[in-house]
Structure formats: C-alpha cells, structure tokens
Amino acid sequence: MRCQICNKNDATIHLTEITDGVRAEMHICELCAQEQGIAVKSQIPLNELLSSLLAVQPTDEELFGSSEKDSKTSCPHCGFTLDKFRKEAVLGCPYDYEVFEKSLLQIIKKAHNGNTAHCGKVPSKASAGIKKQAKIITLHQKLQEAVRSEDYELAAKLRDKIKKFET
C-alpha cells in the first residue's frame, strides 16, 4: 500500500481515528508521519512492553469489582456465589443480575464496550411497566448519542419525549 500523502513510499504507519463514532483510516510512510508531527516509536524495549502489559492486567477486584459484601453474599433464589461465577463464568439464575449487580457491572461494561443498558427487542408479553421503563432507557441512550454528536435539536426533542414518558 502506498503512502496517502507522498504517494511514493510504502505506507508503514496505519492510523485509525474515530471521531463522533465515524471511523477514518490513514495509511502513511514514516517520513510523512514525521513531517506531520506524528511521533513514531519504532521499537519498544521489551521490559517497557512487559511492564506496560502487567500494569494493565486487571486485578480480581477490578475485574469483578467485588465489594467485600458481595463476595460473602449468596443469591437467596439459587444459592449462587461470586466465587462460583469466577470458576464457571455463568450465573445461577436471572436474579443474580440484581443480587450481584454492583460486581457484575464491571464485567458487563467490559464485555459490551462500556454499555450498561439494553437497547432493542422487548417481549410483547412484558408488563406495561417494563415496556415503559425499557422505552425510557432507550430514549436516554439516544439522547446521550445526540449530545455526543452535538445534534442539540434532536437532543431537545428526545428530552421532551422522555419527560412526557416519565410523567
């Protein structure tokens, strides 16, 4: 692949920039990168690499966010504990999501790119209360998205809609 700036050298640096959810890729050579002021470290010393890797390893506590209370709790519905979850990677019953909410939130965030609320299908049999709640959660997500992309007109409309739903 040729450098997108000079169109002469091979592109050895591949940049990905995500702005407001829009992904842009750039493929350039080392010389052009230097001219553009993009710092390139061609070799990272092994010890630096290892220590940076070790530094980002989450501890058990970070991973499970286990508060002291949670690690001693067992679910009153199924008897499940967080220790068991650590071993089996599956939960014991639907209530576990409430019982261990605080600890599971970290894992949920990690698995779903930071997302913590459902957006999508709701069973037609769900109660009116759940349907309303789910609708408000989805609207809140859309509002956040609108604010992120600076679409304030849409954000205002969504805010009004949420108010209407909540009253």
């Binding site: 990905t16 519905h77 199924c78 008897g79 499940f80 068991k84 089996e88 990677a89 599956v90 939960l91 014991g92 019953c93 639907p94 576990d96 999501y97 599971l104 894992i107 949920i108 698995a111 779903h112 790119n113 930071g114 997302n115 913590t116 609320a117 459902h118 957006c119 999508g120 299908k121 709701v122 069973p123 037609s124 049999k125 769900a126 759940i130 349907k131 709640q133 789910a134 959660i137 997500q141």
Partner: protein, 376 residues
C-alpha cells in the same frame, strides 16, 4: 426422520446460492433465551433440566415453521451422530458434548435449529446461504414471537434478555457470517483482516465455531457486543458495511493474484487439482485446504471471467469425456458437496459404520477422485 436421510446430501445454505455466495457462504442469526421462573442451567438439577426440556420441546414441536421438524435427544445420540450434527452446523460442540438432558429441534431443510439446554435454556438459530442477514432476522424474529406467546422469557428493562453468561446479555443476538477468504490468505493479508475485526469488537472463528481453527480458508465473523446496540443496528452494520467491505478486500486480493501473482495462483490451483485427482490417502484438513483453492478458481472463472492456464484447465476438465449432462460438470455445488460429504462424521455415517483414520482417509480420497475424474 433418521440422520442418514440428510447425510448424503448438502443443506440448502451450503449449496452455493444466495447474494455474494462466491465469498459469503452463509448467514446465521442465533438468539439466546431463558424462561422466567427457572434457574439457569448451572444451578438446575437433572429433574429440573428434564422438565425444561420437555416444556420447550412441546412448544417448539407445535410451531408452524413452514417445514417438517424433527426432534433429537442429543444426550442419547451415539457420539458419531453428535459429531455429524456439529459438522452440519445444526448444533454447537458445547451442546453435542455437554452434560444432562438436552435436545434439538431441527427443520428438515436445516434452515432452523433450536438447541434446548445448551448454555441457556433455549438457543434458536436461522441459517441461509450467501449474505441474507435481513431475511434471517425477519424469520428468527417471527419464530421468537411465536415461542414467546407460549412461554415467558426472563427479561429486565435495564439488561434486556437475561442470559447465563453476561457476555450475551441484552439482545442476546449472535450474528455470524461464514466467509471464504483464500486470496487474502494467499496474499498474506489475512492478519490485517483479523486486526480490523478485533478493532471493531468482532470475533473471528474457524469453520465450526468457538474454539476451532480456520480450515479451508473459511472464517466465521460475528458480533460480540449484545448490550446497548439494537438487533437491527447490528444487522445493518454487518449487511451494509462490514461484510461488503471484507468481500471487496477479498475481491481486490483475487484481482491482485490475477494481475501480479498469476504464477502463485496457478501453482496453488494446479497442485490442488493434481493432488485431489490422484491422492489415495487424504486427511480432512488437507482436503479442505485443497478444495478451497479449487473453489476459488471456479468462482474466479464464474464471477470475474478470469482466465489463466490453471483456471482454464478447470473448464476443460469439467467437460471431460464430452459429457454435456449438467450433473457431471465440475460446479461449485460439486465442490461444496465434497467439502461437506468428506468430513469425518459424514463419511462414516454414509458408509454405515465407524472407520479408523486411515480408512477414512482412503475413503475420502476415493470419493474425491471419483468426483474429479469423470472417466473413472
């Protein structure tokens, strides 16, 4: 219905039809569901599992799916049959070799499977050939609605469909597309594809899903994030952006092979032809690897009008013996048949008994030789 009723043929979604089917083998959507009022399977006793199994089996067998359905008691099936179901992509490895009472409801045309008591109480999947995710979504949504009229799903407004593993939480949808990417591999660009997929939070797996190696240049790409993104957004993203982009890259790599590396291309195809037509012992992995090159050559001729000495040989030997009858021509369907029917469990089920590896390799080679040498 017996498994041998389907084992001698290939399923619709693997027949080489559907949009972009030269590169996109199949589209699959899977939904995970659990019943409200029951514990997840890890905490269920054998009796509770049996109760769930019976309840869900009754519901699924009563649905109108527009096709005959049959039920398989997975835990009671012989090991060979279970391997067959995995090769056929009808059930997962986890389901085939798991524990406790479990079953599968399968549509005879194999576009639909429900796995009962896999990791979740219920996992339903719809499969189609080529890139047809929207149609899969429509169909599975309809089936899901039909099931939901008869049971209550575990659902929360905050977290959506509640699943045994938090990684499936939310929509609990898994969108998977199986791709054939031999040119990206041949031109050394497959790593780029892996990296791009990883950056986009997508999983890349081998031919038979989780924990399997890529064989025959087949890769399954699927979403991992199920919370905070709607079913329709995931599907649109796959159908309109991700998959067409990968298809473009594969096509660019095929063009690169034609224009700049035709010797490499011809060498791979010619070697594949020579080995497949002459080998007397061939392993499953080797067969997949070689048939993959033949499949690419045929598709390049068909879809790109490619002509090189090796690709032209494919045309001439497809007409060998002066036969004009369609079933004797070397077509993508023939290659797809060989891909599937020479897999270990297919071979043994069709042969009628278990065979050791050497006998399997000999039988596989014989089937391939007879399909590719039409004089014999």
């Amino acid at each position: 219905m017996k498994l041998t009723d389907i084992s001698s043929g290939i399923n619709e979604w693997f027949s080489g039809s559907g949009p972009l089917s030269d590169i996109v083998i199949s589209s699959r959507i899977r939904l995970a569901r659990n019943l409200a009022g029951y514990k997840f399977l890890s905490c269920c006793s054998v009796d509770e599992k049996a109760e769930l199994l019976q309840k869900l089996k009754d519901v699924l067998m009563s649905l109108d799916l527009g096709d005959k359905v049959f039920y398989i008691s997975v835990d009671k099936e012989p090991v060979l049959n279970r391997h067959f179901l995995v090769e056929r992509h009808l059930i997962s490895r986890h389901h085939a070799f798991g524990k406790g009472p479990r079953g599968a409801v399968i549509a005879q045309r194999e576009f639909f499977t429900a796995m009962i008591n896999e990791e979740d109480h219920l996992r339903i999947q719809v499969l189609r050939g080529g890139l047809q995710l929207s149609k899969c979504a429509e169909q599975i949504n309809h089936i899901d609605d039909m099931i939901e009229r008869k049971v209550s799903y575990a659902f929360s407004a905050r977290y959506g469909y509640l699943t045994a593993c938090p990684t499936n939480l939310g929509t609990a949808i898994r969108v998977s597309v199986m791709l054939h990417l031999p040119a990206l591999k041949m031109t050394g660009q497959i790593e780029k594809f892996f990296n791009a997929a990883r950056d986009m939070n997508l999983a890349v797996r081998g031919l038979f899903g989780e924990g399997t190696e890529a064989a025959g240049d087949f890769y399954q790409i699927s979403n991992q994030i199920t919370l905070g993104i709607s079913e329709s957004d995931v599907i649109t993203q796959f159908e309109n952006t991700i998959i067409p982009e990968i298809v473009d890259y594969e096509n660019a790599a095929r063009n690169q092979l034609l224009s700049k590396q035709s010797d490499l291309l011809d060498d791979k195809i010619s070697r594949a032809v020579a080995l497949l037509r002459n080998a007397h012992l061939i392993s499953s992995q080797e067969a997949l690897f070689l048939l993959s090159h033949l499949r690419m050559g045929l598709n390049m001729r068909e879809y790109m009008g490619a002509s090189t000495p090796a690709i032209d040989t494919l045309s001439t030997f497809s007409k060998k013996g002066g036969s004009t009858s369609k079933h004797q021509e070397l077509t993508i369907e023939t290659i797809n048949r060989l891909f599937m029917l020479t897999l270990p469990a297919h071979l043994q089920l069709n042969y009628g008994k278990a065979l050791d590896a050497t006998h399997r390799d000999a039988l596989r080679a014989r089937i391939i030789r007879s399909a590719l040498n039409q004089d014999s």
